[in-house]
Every structure is written in C-alpha cells, then in structure tokens.
C-alpha cells in the first residue's frame, strides 16, 4: 500500500469534539431502538451531551458536536437526506440558535433546565413549522401543537435535570482557554 502523502494532524480540540460527538451519536442510536408510540416524539437524549458541552466548552464546540451527531446519526440510521434528516437538522439549528441567545441569560437565575426547555421548544417549533410549510401544507398543525409541545416540555425538563446532575458529577471544566 502506498503510504498516504497527506497527513492530517488532529488538534486537541478535534479529538475532544470527535469523542463528544461519538457519545452523542451513541445516545442517538440507542434511543432509536426504543419503541415509541407516536412518530416524532422521542427523548432526545443526545441533547444532554450538547448541553454539557455548551457548559464546559462553549457554544462553538456544542454546535460542532450537535452538527456531527445529526449528520452521522442520520447516516448510521439510513436517514441521511430524507425528510427525517431535514427535520432533525432544522430542529438542531433552531435549538442551537436558541441556546446561543439563552446562554447569555444570567447564570444566577437560569440553569441547564431552563436552557434545555427553551431549546426543546425551539427544536419542536422549527420542526412543526417545517412540516407545516413543506411536508404537509394545508394540514392544520395547530391540532398537533398541544401534544408535541407537551412532549417537548417533558423531554426538555428531563434532559435539563440530567444535565444538572451530570454537571455536578463532572470535575470542573479545564481553566485554560478552550473556546
């Protein structure tokens, strides 16, 4: 075999992102095995990873981890470039945008649970909006709102509490500039 002439040297941050994204993808795949009665409702456990990364390494790393998780998770599940993937992407983008704003809320009053709830609502909001304008135009999405928002509230709360618990368990973030 010809030795490769191109050598990619991954930086410390690349390795960290890859490891964290792998954890998120693992959660996505594990979650896909859980049977759920209603399509479109799932716990979104991988968002725990996103939130943890946001708190420990900042928004940029969190966006990388979430983006890699969405693409690689879809590839692994055979959903890449299907409507499911597009919905997942829309939800991911919107919740990251929401987190970018919400992370500037005063930390004294707003913790992971609040951020998780806001991100969950942004996530399902973007997805329902996309369903309304693209997948099922004309159908009334309003009828679906209560069910899906309730699910978002529950999963947002659950993931936020899980993140709070894990943040308490983990050692404090490295103090050297990591953003």
């Amino acid at each position: 075999m010809t030795p490769s002439t191109i050598e990619l040297i991954p930086s410390q941050e690349d390795r960290r992102i890859a490891g964290l994204a792998a954890a998120a993808i693992g959660l996505t795949l594990a979650e896909a095995a859980i049977p759920l009665p209603i399509p479109g409702i799932k716990p979104g456990l991988a968002n725990i990873v996103t939130l943890l990364v946001l708190y420990r390494y900042g928004w940029r790393t969190a966006a990388w981890v979430a983006g890699l998780r969405i693409v690689a998770g879809a590839l692994a599940l055979g959903q890449f470039l299907t409507p499911t993937f597009v919905l997942s992407l829309a939800g991911g983008v919107m919740s990251l945008a929401m987190l970018a704003v919400a992370m500037h809320l005063p930390a004294r009053w707003f913790g992971p649970v609040g951020l998780s709830l806001l991100a969950a609502f942004a996530h399902i909001g973007a997805q329902l909006w996309l369903v309304d304008v693209w997948l099922l135009p004309g159908a009334s999405i309003l009828g679906l709102l209560p069910l899906f928002l309730s699910a978002a509230w529950l999963t947002g709360l659950g993931n936020g509490l899980a993140t709070t618990y894990l943040l308490g368990k983990l050692s404090p973030p490295p103090t050297e500039s990591s953003t």
């Binding site: 005063p106 649970v113 609040g114 009828g143 709102l145 209560p146 928002l149 509230w153 936020g160």
Partner: protein, 114 residues
C-alpha cells in the same frame, strides 16, 4: 433548578394548558369547507344552517342540521357528493367538478393524528 428555570417551566405549563383547552374546544364539531383547495369557511356543527359556496359550475349548498352535515345540492353532473348523504365524523365529501369539499372534522381524526 434556579428561579428562572421555574419561570420557564411554569410559562411552559401555562402555554400547554391554554393549547389543550383550545384543542378541546376546536375538536368539538368543526366543519371545514374548501373551495378550489382554499378554506372557504370553518363552521361549527352546533349551529343549524345552509352554507352556499360558489364554484365554477354554480352554487353548492351545504346543510348543517342537528350536529350533522351533508351536501344538500350541487351542480355537479353525477351528484356523487350529494348521494353520499350525511358525512360521518372524520369523513369528507368532495364535489370535484365544482371544486368544493366538505370535511366533518368532529372526531379530530385525520392522516396526521390517526
């Protein structure tokens, strides 16, 4: 949980309660009348009346009577939607030539929430 978290969670509960209440209201006896694919009128099943919709062939008369709905008269040649009679909840009658459709959304079941 910090104070702001409680605030966000509380606001979420209030929003959800409002949405569920609205849902209960809206699922009770809605008739959706469409003309040329556009919603022409959304009517309640509880109010007896006759609604007239103008299509390319003429006027379709939709009758709401005692919580039921049907197409009472229609200019379409084969009268399929008229002969269908009272529309069951969750069902629909389509007067294709006149481009009018009547949907009885009383049960709230459709392809979305099966």
């Amino acid at each position: 949980m910090r104070p702001g978290d409680w605030l966000i969670a509380g606001a979420g509960v209030v929003l959800l309660a409002a949405l569920w209440l609205r849902q209960v209201d809206s699922l009770e006896g809605q008739v959706v009348i469409r003309q040329d694919g556009q919603v022409f009128q959304t009517a309640s099943l509880r109010l007896n009346r006759i609604i007239e919709v103008a299509g390319p062939l003429g006027i379709s008369r939709i009758e709401i009577q005692a919580g039921r709905v049907r197409v009472a008269a229609d200019p379409s040649p084969r009268q399929l939607c008229v002969r269908q009679g009272w529309i069951p909840s969750g069902g629909a009658a389509v007067c294709l030539p006149n481009r009018v459709s009547v949907e009885n959304a009383a049960a709230g079941y459709d392809t979305l929430n099966y």
